[in-house]
Amino acid sequence: MSDSVVQTRGLTMQFGGVTAVDNVDFSLRRNELRCLIGPNGAGKSTFFKCITGMLKATSGEVWINGHETTTWDPHQVARLGVGIKTQVPSVLDGFTVRENVWLAAHRVTAADGVASRVAEAMERLAVSSLANSMVGSLSHGERQRVELSMILASRPWLVLLDEPAAGLTAAEIATLGEIVTDISRDAAVVIVEHDMQFIRSIAGLVTVFAQGRILMEDQVDKVMADPRVREVYLGRKN
């Protein structure tokens, strides 16, 4: 398995006659920050769901930290120390911010350390002032931060984020860039994202998806300058 913490081999996902992910070989090293980009329908979110256990691949293998997780359920993947953020903020609207973050901290922390971990995670995502607010009453950006706070409270070594910048204002995206950079100091991070400015702000290696396959992998500037990427995004070569 070399030094890869996430690896897929020939990963394929079909829905009826449509092949959303087509024979993808992917590899992520420890503490690496990787962005997955591609136009709508490129298969990146389906690929993300296959890694997290939300979808079971039609064929191929998924390996996380030496475990073959191809047929695992999301809770089993999460128990390996993987923090997962879905495309639409998946939070508990009827609970307070503190209760949301407690839920994440409780599973991985001894009872006497939960309160301090909750406080630390809320502080890091600047949601401490909202601790007693109902999550359902918060703005989209605040809900995104609550979800990230939950992920941090579970102290993951691998963080998988599906379109974390979706629906955020420019200021919120700038803050998110800082948060992701901060998270990547302690954990490997995979981000599925559309927003190229956001991707530039966090740099790292970029994997480009097109028609269910990996088109190329390189540094962000090289990817942006590549005519093949322009073609799949814009439908023309320059």
Binding site: H75, L92, G94, F95, T96, E99, L103, R107
Partner: protein, 344 residues
């Protein structure tokens, strides 16, 4: 958690006072049945109101508990072991049924249909057991006529010391209070909080590493055990068990009790059950109007005017009356968080 249990104790003390003075107004024979129905409603209130599991077949565990007790009491004689079996068998049956449903990823309406079908299967089967070949040990199942003439509850170890009349009422009342406190403790514990979180957003809870299927199965089984306990107490009160315990009408009534009383609380379903069951009893003594029409009208009015149920609506009104101005700048929705709602 300590604060929540203090609150639970306060509710239990108030309930104990009400239950202690109630015999001055209503006979203990009728009150006993109301308390048993309250416990049955509480079992559904727990799994539906806090676990989000809409079980149309809570009557199955109620009937199973009663039949288990009756069959075991005929075979064993002394009531202690039958009493425990009346709780254990519904727990195990609910565990097996729950595991099949939750590990099969069934939810919502499918879950409701399956639990209803299981209940009706029991109903059909028990109705067809009139022949002498349907016998468990020395207990004949009796078909439509059910099983009469078994040993009712006695003081543990002394089969001749029956518990009946007023003593039986106080026993069921204490049992209800104990079950209430245990359920409140469960809901205040991490298990209960996670169960409520699963009801809110199962995917998020799974993405945090919790096995929602196992937790839902356990919660469902606990609900089955409480319904089984109610069935056991009912069997000893009625001194007969019949297939009617598994009927569609019985299943529907439990759901109506919860809706009228108020989901998301424990006291709500208990109060809903006691009021509606008493109303049904009182209306049954006259012949001017059919009692199901009146109960149906109450359900419709309640759904239209108090969609959250009687207890949560009254609770919100009381909170509004006594609420202090909010000064910490936090934003709250009307109502309370699940953990706060669990206080009642």
């Amino acid at each position: 958690m300590r604060g929540e249990m203090r609150h639970a104790l306060l509710v239990a003390i108030v309930a104990a006072i009400v239950l202690a003075v109630a015999p001055a107004l209503i006979g203990t024979y009728t009150l006993t049945l109301l308390v048993i129905y309250g416990m049955l409603a509480l079992s559904l209130g727990l799994i539906w109101g806090f676990g989000g599991i809409l079980c149309f077949g809570q009557a199955a565990f109620f009937g199973l508990g009663a039949y288990t007790y009756a069959i075991a009491a005929i075979n064993i004689g002394e009531s202690t072991v039958p009493f425990l079996l009346g709780i254990a068998i519904p727990f195990l049956f609910a565990a097996a049924l729950g595991a099949m449903m939750f590990y099969g990823r069934l939810s919502d309406v499918y879950l409701g249909v399956i639990t209803l079908v299981v209940t009706l299967l029991f109903f059909r089967f028990m109705n067809s057991t009139a022949g002498p070949e349907y016998v468990v040990g020395t207990a004949r199942l009796g078909g439509f006529n059910g099983i009469p003439g078994f040993q009712t509850l006695n003081v543990p170890g002394d089969p001749s010391a029956y518990i009946f009349g007023d003593a039986y009422y106080y026993l069921t009342a204490v049992a209800l209070l104990i079950v209430y406190l245990l359920v409140r403790w469960l809901l205040a514990s991490p298990f209960g909080r996670i169960a409520m979180a699963i009801r809110e957003n199962e995917l998020r809870v799974e993405l945090l590493g919790y096995d929602a299927r196992a937790r839902k199965t356990l919660l469902f089984s606990i609900g089955g055990a409480i319904a089984g306990l109610a069935g056991t107490l009912y069997a000893s009160w009625a001194e007969i068990v019949t297939p009617g315990m598994f009927s569609l009408g019985q299943s529907a009534e439990i759901i109506i009790w919860c809706i009228v009383g108020g989901l998301g609380t424990l006291v709500g379903p208990v109060i809903g059950a006691m009021i509606l069951a008493y109303l049904k009893f009182a209306l049954g003594q006259q012949s001017v109007i059919d009692n199901t029409l009146v109960l149906g009208a109450i359900l419709i009015l309640c759904v239209l005017l108090m969609p959250r149920g009687v207890v949560p609506t009254l609770g919100s009104a009381l909170r509004r009356s006594y609420r202090r101005p909010q000064t910490d700048g936090t934003r709250r929705r009307p109502g309370a968080s699940p953990a706060e709602r669990a206080h009642v």
